[in-house]
């Protein structure tokens, strides 16, 4: 792995830190239509999401959890993207979309952190019990 010269490196761009420290749509919904939580036992990351769906559209969404900056910022970014999106469009979101939105180089060791929120979306919204984040 290369060693960037500056401390403001690509690994932790400002907006990643911002989403980590000031997560958007953080909390719980009182009456969610879908709620699902996943964890990564290896590092203890947890991400859960509550969805409110009307006419096939995600009207409202909240996430909760704890863990590293990558997993929590990824979840925060995901909720911003999903709010107002149809479930059909949400189903099209894939690994490349999530990594692209993070906009940073993710090492193999951290890929599970980055994709934990995608797993929550897939298992929760798709109802795919065996959704694999790979």
């Amino acid at each position: 792995m290369s060693t960037p010269a500056s401390a403001e490196d690509q690994f932790y761009r400002e907006y990643i830190i911002d989403h980590y420290k000031n997560p958007r749509n953080y909390g719980r919904l009182d009456h969610p239509d879908i709620t699902h939580e996943e964890n990564n036992p290896l590092c203890g990351d947890v991400v859960g999401m509550d969805f409110q769906v009307r006419d096939g559209v995600i009207e409202d969404i909240r996430f909760h959890g704890r863990g590293c900056a990558i997993s929590q910022a990824s979840a925060s970014l995901m909720t911003e993207r999903l709010k107002g999106m149809s479930l059909d469009d949400a189903k099209k979101i894939d690994k490349e979309d999530v990594l692209g939105e993070l906009g940073i180089e993710i090492s193999p060791a951290r890929i599970k952190c980055a994709l934990l929120s995608l797993k929550v979306l897939k298992v929760g919204a798709y109802g795919l019990a065996d959704a694999d984040e790979e």
Binding site: A7, F11, C43, R66, G67, C68, I70, S107
Partner: protein
């Protein structure tokens, strides 16, 4: 050799990996290997590669001799009574599983008590859980106090209940706590328990004498003590090993085989079925030679010096929490957390500075639960660790704090 004469720069010259510029602070996970170890293995591959115990020709005689030669080196290294008590295994995990299977299935019965501790590694928990579930035995765990040391009062209470087995690590891989092994073993034996000691984190770092300790079984891995992966040791007191059935059946562990049945080989080969990790065992022998050359008292003194230095340097960092006992009562392992920064983020930022740091639960999830954390960052030291590497760690932590400020 005293710390004053310990020449870490000379030691580092034996480890080519440091030419890459890394600061390696993950030796509790796996150590680096010196040229003497990789050289011994390469010598086998290039000069006398052959199978052992079937020698009809010279190079196989040499392979057998060197493979068996490691056994005597290891016997002397841990002061076992006989090479018959030194069983080659892949590592600590296999050693403990061997005992859980071959001793446990014969001796542990429904209702029996197994005593473990919250400091134990998963490899000294899971095999006993499997055994307990199969046999209907119970497991109790010795708790820790606020310093991360085992609660001896609670241990004494558990011993009053007459456990069948007591198993614990001499040194905690997650906190570095050095447990009072000799006292605990004596008390456990007096209570009638068989005692297994997980020596994965003690054998590489301090002088070990299994007879002075008085344990029944002692398990450790070669790869944490400058040797290669795939070669480890189970020590067992001879009468216990004699009474045990084999772990795996196959070639090399038999005396005679007929269609009616099999008679087993003598100790220690009874437990060594199939073609063995010959190069790795030869490498482990070279690692023992290397450590003897440094002297285990000198190794411990050097690590204590580095640990005290690191403990102080990390204590000076704002917002940093240290886990575990003071340096004098711990091995070269320091677990810590930095406010507002997840250990994995810290490790990623450190990696950018070529600082190899462990982040996670360290295969000690019951301990992490007890500490109320999901993960910690962990720095660990060895014969080649120099203070400059600790300084680089502190600098990486401060970088991370700036990024997350």
């Amino acid at each position: 050799m005293s710390t004053l004469t310990y020449d870490v720069a000379a030691v580092r010259k034996d480890f080519p990996i440091f030419e890459t510029g890394i600061a390696y602070l993950d030796s509790a996970n796996t150590s680096q290997r010196p040229r003497q170890v990789t050289g011994a293995m390469l010598d086998y591959f290039e000069r006398y590669n052959s199978n052992i115990h079937r020698a009809a020709y010279k190079i196989a005689e040499e392979a057998t001799e060197r493979y068996e030669g490691t056994r005597e080196k290891v016997r002397a290294f841990i002061n076992a009574a006989s090479t018959k008590e030194i069983v080659y295994v892949r590592g600590t995990t296999e050693a403990i599983n061997l005992v859980a299977y071959a001793w446990g299935r014969k001796n542990v019965k429904a209702g029996d008590l197994i005593v473990l501790t919250l400091l134990d590694h998963h490899s000294n928990i899971v095999p006993w859980q499997i055994l307990a579930a199969e046999k209907g035995a119970r497991i109790e765990y010795v708790d820790i106090d606020e310093k991360g040391e085992l609660r001896q009062d609670q241990f004494a209470e558990l011993l009053e209940r007459g456990p069948k087995l007591v198993a614990f690590n001499l040194v905690s891989n997650a906190l570095g706590t050095i447990n009072p092994g000799r006292e605990m073993i004596a008390a456990a034996r007096k209570a009638g328990a068989t005692v297994l000691l997980d020596g994965a984190q003690s054998t590489p770092h301090q002088p070990v004498d299994v007879r002075a300790l008085g344990c029944d079984f002692y398990a450790f891995s070669g790869h944490k003590m400058l040797g290669p992966t795939g070669a480890g040791i189970l020590y067992g007191r001879r009468e216990l090993l004699e009474a045990m059935d084999p772990f795996m059946g196959g070639g090399d562990m038999i005396r005679t085989v007929s269609v009616e049945g099999t008679t087993y080989h003598d100790l220690p080969w009874k437990f060594e079925a199939g073609t063995q990790a010959i190069a790795e065992v030869i490498g482990l022998g070279a690692a023992v030679d290397y450590l003897n050359g440094l002297g285990m008292d000198a190794v411990r003194a050097h690590e204590l010096d580095i640990t005290e230095y690191a403990y102080e340097a990390l204590s000076d960092v704002d917002g940093l929490t240290l886990y575990g006992p003071p340096p004098s009562r711990r091995a070269g392992v320091i677990s810590f957390a930095v406010d507002g920064i997840h250990p994995h983020d810290l490790a990623t930022i450190a990696d950018r500075d070529q600082v190899c740091l462990r982040a996670g639960h360290h295969c000690a999830m019951p301990l992490m639960t007890r500490l109320g954390v999901a993960a910690t960052a962990r720095a660990s030291f060895y014969v080649y660790t120099q203070k400059d590497e600790v300084d680089r760690l502190v600098s990486s932590i401060k970088d991370a704090q700036r990024i997350f400020a």
